[in-house]
Symmetry: C2
Subunit: 648 residues, 2 copies
C-alpha cells in the first residue's frame, strides 16, 4: 500500500519553502554554533544552558573526531535528530543533492558516535558512561533514541539510505535487548515518552515485530511500578541530570497509574501527547480496543475540558503541565508549541483508529493557531510558549510570567520547538489524508494531489482550494478500479452551513461522524464543497472561569486576536459589542497576507482617575477593534496581544 | 509625655480576649511542641520545615539546659519573640500573674542563650558559631534581634522588668559595636529589615542616641553596596542557610538602589513595609524631610498602584513580592497577613510625620480586611496568604496556586503570621489615636477611653461607638488645661456623607487632609459624628486589567465577598446587576455577628453544554447573591470565595 500527497497550496507552500530555504540552513548553523544569534532561556531559570547549542560538537566529541566536554541538556542530541527528520521530509518535496550530502555526513558522524553495542547518546558516552540507563526519569536516553529512529526511518523513506536505517536498527535492537520483562532486562521506562513512537515507526517500516512488542512493553509498563524512578535515583545516588525533575509528582511522567487506567490528561503536556500518539498507533495497528478506549478517554478529557481555543494545551509552567478540568488561564498558561504539534500526532493516529472528524477538527485547530504561532513569519524566531494574553511589562516584571515571552527568541535554551516545527511543516502532506480500509479521509483543506496505489487500488484525488480565504473547495477524482472507493470529506465543526455537488449536481450533505461520505465509482468525478466561512463569535463553556463575559472571534480554522499595534495599549480596556458586524477583509500586504476582522466596540477610559478604587463605573468611548489571525501575532514588534476580548 | 487608650469595643474586645485566652496559650503550646496539631507548608516547597516548631527547645539547647540540634528556619527564634511581645501587650489590658511568670522564665532562658558578647541567635550559637554574620542576606540574625528588642521593649513598658531590657541593650550594644562605618565594623545590612524598627523603639525607650544612629546606618547603607550579599556568599562558600534566596533579584531585599533613591515598592512585601516603617519612624523622630519624602513616594506607589482593595500587598508568590504597577491578580497573589500588618506599622509612623487621613484610611482598610482574615474566628487557624478569589480544586491541582489555601492551617512551616497577628491585635490601642505636637488624631473608630497627660496636658477622650454596625460616633472630651487642644477626627474616604455636632449643635464639617479639626477648649465637650455607612459598589481603576467588568461591594471599612456556601459553586458564574439594591442586614448569630449584603443578580447556566467552545452566548438565570465581610470567609468549611464579582 502506497499513498502520498503533494502540496501545491499557496498558504502552506510558503511555510514549506521557509522550512527548506530558511529553517533548515539556519538551524544547521545554530546546531554547529555558527549562527550569530543569542539563545534565550525559555523561562527565568538559571539552570537552563544558553551559551551555545553545541549539539553537533557533542557528536564530534562522542565520535572521537574532536575533543572536549558535552554541553547542553542530556537531550541535546534530539535537536540534531529532529533537524535530520525535517531534512528527510523536505527532500521528498524538494530534492537537494547538497543537503542530502550534508545529512549523509551527519548520519556517518552519528554512526561513529554510536557505541559497539548499539547504545547512542552523546552525553553519557562522553561524560558518564557508567551511568547509562541508571536515571531513566531524567536521562532522556530513550527519548533521544526515539527521535533518532524517527529521523532515520524518515531518511530511509526519503532517500533509501541503508546506513541511517542500519544505525537505527542497531540502536533499536540494543534497546529491545536491554529493556523488557525477561531476566536481566531493565523493567522500566523513560521519563519522557518518544521511544514508543520511534519503535512503532521502525516496525511499520521493517515489519520486525520485536520493535512493536518493545514499544508495547514501554507503554504497558508505564505507571505499573510508580517507585521505579525513585529507586533508580537512590541506587544511583549522584547529582541530578536535570535539576528539579524529581520534585514533580508522578503524574508529570504519566507514572501515577498504569496507562490503561489513565482517563484524564495529566502531567507534562508533551509527554502525555507523545505517549498517547504511540498508544493510538499501537491500537490502530493491533486493533486492540482496550488501547483505543484509553486513547478515546484521554482525548475526550483534553478536547472537552483541557484545551485552549487555539489548540494549545498545558495550563501551567510548573512542569509544563495540565492542571485540572476547565482550568484555562490565558496569561500564565504554557501552551508549548511542541505540545500542540504532539496533539496533531495524536489526532493523526486516532484517525487511523476511526473516521471521526473531530480528530481532524482538533488537528486543524492546533495547526492553524498554536503550532504556527510557534514561529515568526521569517522562520527564524520561535515561541516555546503561546499565550492567549500577553503584556510585555507583565512578562518583564511579574516572575510568574517570565515564560510568557512577547518577542520570539532566535533560539531557546531548550530548543525542542524549532526543529519540531520544521519536521511538522515539512511532513504536513501526511496529515491531509488518511487511508483506512477502503476509505480515504480528507482531513485538511490544503491544495494538493493525492495518489493511492495498491494491489487493487489506483486512485488520484486532486484537491483544489485556496482555503480558508476562499470558501469553495473541489476535488477531481480519478478511480481507475472497478470497485468503488469511499471518499470521506470532513465538514468542519466550526460551520453549520455548507453545500455540496457531485459531478455538477447539487446534493444534500449527510454527515457520518462529521464526514461527508461519497462512494466514488470507477472513472473521473468532480466533487464540490462550499463552506460558509465567516467571522464568528465564540464563547467558552461557562465552566471556564477565566473567560466569563469574554468573546473570541474565529473565521474558519483561524482564531483571531487583538494586538496593541492595531488597537492601542491596554487591550483589557477594549469591549466588543455583542451584535456589531464583524467585517472581514483580505489584506494581501499585511503579514504575508491575512484576513483582518474589524468591529465596532468600546474602550474604557483609563485616564483621569488617580485612585485605585472608585465608586464611579469607568467611562467608555467608542473604538473600532481590529483583529488579526492569532498565528501572525508578534510579527510587528513587541506589543500586547489578547484572544479573549471583553464583551460589553 | 504619656498617652494611652483602653479599648472597650464589642468587635475588638472579642479579638483581644481571643488573643489573651486562646492565641497566647495555644501558641505557647505550639512553640513548646505540646499542641496536637499538624503544621502545613505555606506552599508546595519541600524545603519548608514542618515537622515541629521546636522554637522553645532551640533556646533550651542554646542555653545549655537541653541537648540536641537546632530545628527549623534560621529565624525560628522570632516566633518566640513575637509571642513575648503579644504577651507584653496583653498584660497591659489584662494582667495575669501566671503569664507574667511564664514570660519572665522565657526571658531568663533567653538570657542564658545570649552569648557573652551580647550575640543572640539559637541557630548560629548551636549549629554554626563560626558563621555568625557571614551570610547576612539569608541569616536573619539582625531580623531576629530586632524582634527580640521589640519584645523586650514592650515587656519592659508593660511590667517594668529590668531583665528583659538588659538583654535587649546588651544585644543592641553588641550590634551597634559590630555594624557601622568605622574600621573593623561590618558595613552591611540584614537581608530582612526589622533591626531598624527594634533599634528605633529601644531609642524611644532609653533615649540612647547610638541606637537611632545604628538604625539610621542600616537604613542608609541599604542598597549602597549592592554586591555585599554576593561577596559574603562567595567568601563564606558554604551551603545555603535558606534555599534559593540568592536567586531573587536585588529588589527582593530592597538592595537595588540606595533607600533614598527608592520611589516604588519593590521586592518582598513584608521587608519593604518593615523598611518603610523604620524609615518613617526615623523621619518623624528627626524631622528629616529627605527621609519623609522617600516614605511618601513609596507610600504613594503602594496605595495608588500596588494595593489590593482588601489592603493586601504583594502580587506574586515568587519572592512574596510586589511586581509592577496595576498588576493585581486576584487568584495568584500573595497578600501575606504579615505584609498587611506591616502596612499598618508603616501607616502608623506616617501619621507621626503628618496628619493626613489617608494613612489612617489605609490602616483601617488593612486591619478590617486582610489582617483579620489572616486568622479564623477561633484564633487557632491562620492564613499566610489572603486571596481575593479562591477555588479549592484549583488550589489543590494547579501548582501555581499551591500557596492559595482555602482552609486556614493550624500552624505554618514559616510561622511568622500567627504571632504577628497576636501582637498586632494586642497592641491595637496604639493605633486608634496619634498624638503629634498639640494635636490628637482620631484614626480609628474603636470604642475606647484615651488619656493624654503631659506637663501641660491633661485630656481625656471617651469615644463611644459601635462601629461600623452603627453610623453614630460620639466623643466625650475633658480638657483640664487652659490651653485648647486640637482634636482631628478622620472622615473616612469611603463616605462623602457625614454630619457633625459640637456640644449638641449641628455644625458643618470642613476637612483638612481628611480630618475634621476641632479646637477643644477647657472643660467638658461632646462631639457627635454620623457617617453614612451603606453598602457601596467599588470599581478598580481601569488600569487594573484583572478587574475589568467586575465590582466589589464594601460597607464602611469592610470589603465583602461571596462564598459558595451561600451562593452555590462556581462563583465566576454570578453576575451582580449594576443597579440592584444592596440590602444590608445585621446577623447576630452568623460568624460571631456580621452584616450580610444581599442583592439581585444572575447566574450563568453552566449545565447542558458539553463542548468547550460554543457559538451560543451562555444563558442566564436570576439569583440572589449574598455577601459577607471578607475577613470572615473560610469559617464555614472549605469553599470557594470571590471578592470581585462580575457585573452584568
Amino acid at each position: 500500500m502506497k499513498h502520498e500527497a503533494r502540496i501545491s497550496d499557496s498558504f502552506w507552500n510558503r511555510y514549506r519553502k521557509l522550512v527548506k530555504n530558511e529553517m533548515i540552513p539556519y538551524q544547521w548553523d545554530v546546531l554547529n554554533d555558527k549562527a550569530d544569534i543569542s539563545i534565550e532561556r525559555e523561562r527565568d531559570d538559571a539552570s537552563i544552558p544558553n551559551e551555545k547549542s553545541h549539539a553537533m560538537e557533542n557528536f564530534r566529541i562522542a565520535a572521537k573526531r574532536a575533543k572536549g566536554e558535552h554541553y547542553g541538556w542530556v537531550f541535546q542530541d534530539s535537536d540534531v535528530y529532529k533537524w535530520l527528520e525535517a531534512v528527510s521530509y523536505s527532500l521528498c518535496y524538494e530534492w537537494d543533492d547538497d543537503l542530502k550530502k550534508t545529512a549523509d555526513e551527519v548520519f556517518d558522524l552519528i554512526k561513529d558516535a554510536q557505541e559497539e553495542d548499539g547504545y547512542l547518546n552523546t552525553y553519557f558516552s562522553i561524560m558518564e558512561p557508567d551511568r547509562k540507563y541508571r536515571r531513566l526519569g531524567e536521562s532522556h536516553e530513550l527519548y533521544c533514541a526515539g527521535h533518532f529512529i524517527e529521523a532515520a526511518t524518515a531518511y530511509h523513506q526519503a532517500t533509501g539510505s541503508p546506513d541511517a536505517l542500519a544505525i537505527a536498527t542497531k540502536l533499536a535492537d540494543h534497546i529491545c535487548q536491554t529493556f523488557g520483562e525477561r531476566e536481566g532486562q531493565i523493567k522500566g521506562v523513560d521519563g519522557h515518552e518518544e521511544i514508543e513512537i520511534g519503535l512503532m515507526r521502525l516496525y511499520h517500516l521493517t515489519g520486525k515485530k520485536e520493535y512493536m512488542d518493545t514499544a508495547s512493553f514501554f507503554l504497558m509498563e508505564r505507571g505499573k511500578d510508580p517507585g521505579f524512578f525513585i529507586r533508580q535515583l537512590r541506587e544511583d545516588n549522584k547529582d541530578a541530570l536535570l535539576e528539579g525533575v524529581y520534585r514533580f509528582p508522578l503524574k508529570y511522567f504519566q507514572m501515577h497509574r498504569p496507562v490503561l487506567e489513565q482517563d484524564t490528561a495529566e502531567g507534562h503536556a508533551v509527554r502525555l501527547v507523545y505517549m498517547s500518539t504511540a498508544l493510538a498507533d499501537l491500537a490502530a495497528t493491533t486493533g486492540d480496543e482496550r488501547l483505543a478506549d484509553t486513547c478515546r478517554k484521554i482525548w475526550r478529557n483534553i478536547v472537552d475540558k483541557r484545551m485552549y481555543i487555539t489548540g494549545g494545551i498545558g495550563s501551567t509552567v510548573t512542569g509544563e503541565a495540565f492542571t485540572l478540568d476547565y482550568d484555562l488561564p490565558n496569561d500564565t498558561m504554557y501552551c508549548e508549541t511542541c505540545a500542540s504539534i504532539g496533539l496533531m500526532f495524536f489526532a493523526r493516529q486516532m484517525l487511523r483508529i476511526e473516521a471521526v472528524a473531530e480528530y481532524a477538527d482538533v488537528m486543524e485547530r492546533a495547526l492553524y493557531n498554536t503550532v504556527i504561532s510557534g514561529m515568526a513569519l521569517d522562520g527564524r524566531h520561535f515561541f516555546y510558549v503561546n499565550p492567549l494574553e500577553a503584556v510585555p511589562q507583565k512578562s518583564a516584571n511579574d516572575p510568574g510570567k517570565s515564560h510568557v515571552k512577547t518577542v520570539r527568541p532566535q533560539w531557546l535554551g531548550c530548543a525542542c520547538c524549532p526543529p519540531n516545527l520544521a519536521r511538522l511543516i515539512a511532513s504536513l502532506d501526511r496529515y491531509i489524508y488518511t487511508v483506512r480500509n477502503d476509505e480515504i479521509l480528507v482531513n485538511l483543506f490544503i491544495r494538493s494531489e493525492f495518489k493511492y496505489e495498491d494491489d487493487d487500488k489506483n486512485i488520484t484525488v486532486i484537491q483544489n482550494c485556496d482555503y480558508p480565504k476562499d470558501p469553495k473547495i473541489s476535488f477531481d477524482i480519478e478511480n481507475n478500479n472497478d470497485a468503488s472507493v469511499k471518499l470521506k470529506i470532513r465538514i468542519p465543526s466550526w460551520t453549520d452551513k455548507y453545500t455540496g455537488s457531485i459531478d455538477g449536481t447539487k446534493t444534500d450533505i449527510a454527515t457520518e461522524n462529521g464526514y461527508w461520505c461519497i462512494d466514488v465509482t470507477k472513472g473521473k468525478h468532480t466533487i464540490g464543497l462550499e463552506l460558509e466561512i465567516i467571522p464568528k463569535r465564540w464563547y467558552s463553556n461557562p465552566k471556564v472561569s477565566e473567560n466569563t463575559g469574554k468573546v473570541a472571534i474565529g473565521r474558519g480554522p483561524f482564531i483571531y486576536c487583538a494586538e496593541s499595534v492595531d488597537n492601542g495599549e491596554d487591550l483589557h480596556l477594549l469591549g466588543l459589542s455583542p451584535n456589531s458586524f464583524l467585517d472581514h477583509k483580505w489584506q494581501e500586504d499585511l503579514l504575508e497576507g491575512v484576513g483582518t476582522i474589524e468591529a465596532e466596540g468600546i474602550r474604557l477610559v483609563k485616564d483621569g482617575a488617580k485612585e485605585l478604587y472608585l465608586t464611579d463605573r469607568p467611562q467608555r468611548s467608542s473604538q473600532k477593534i481590529r483583529l488579526i489571525p492569532y498565528y501572525a501575532w508578534a510579527n510587528r514588534g513587541e506589543n500586547e496581544m489578547r484572544v479573549w476580548i471583553n464583551e460589553i
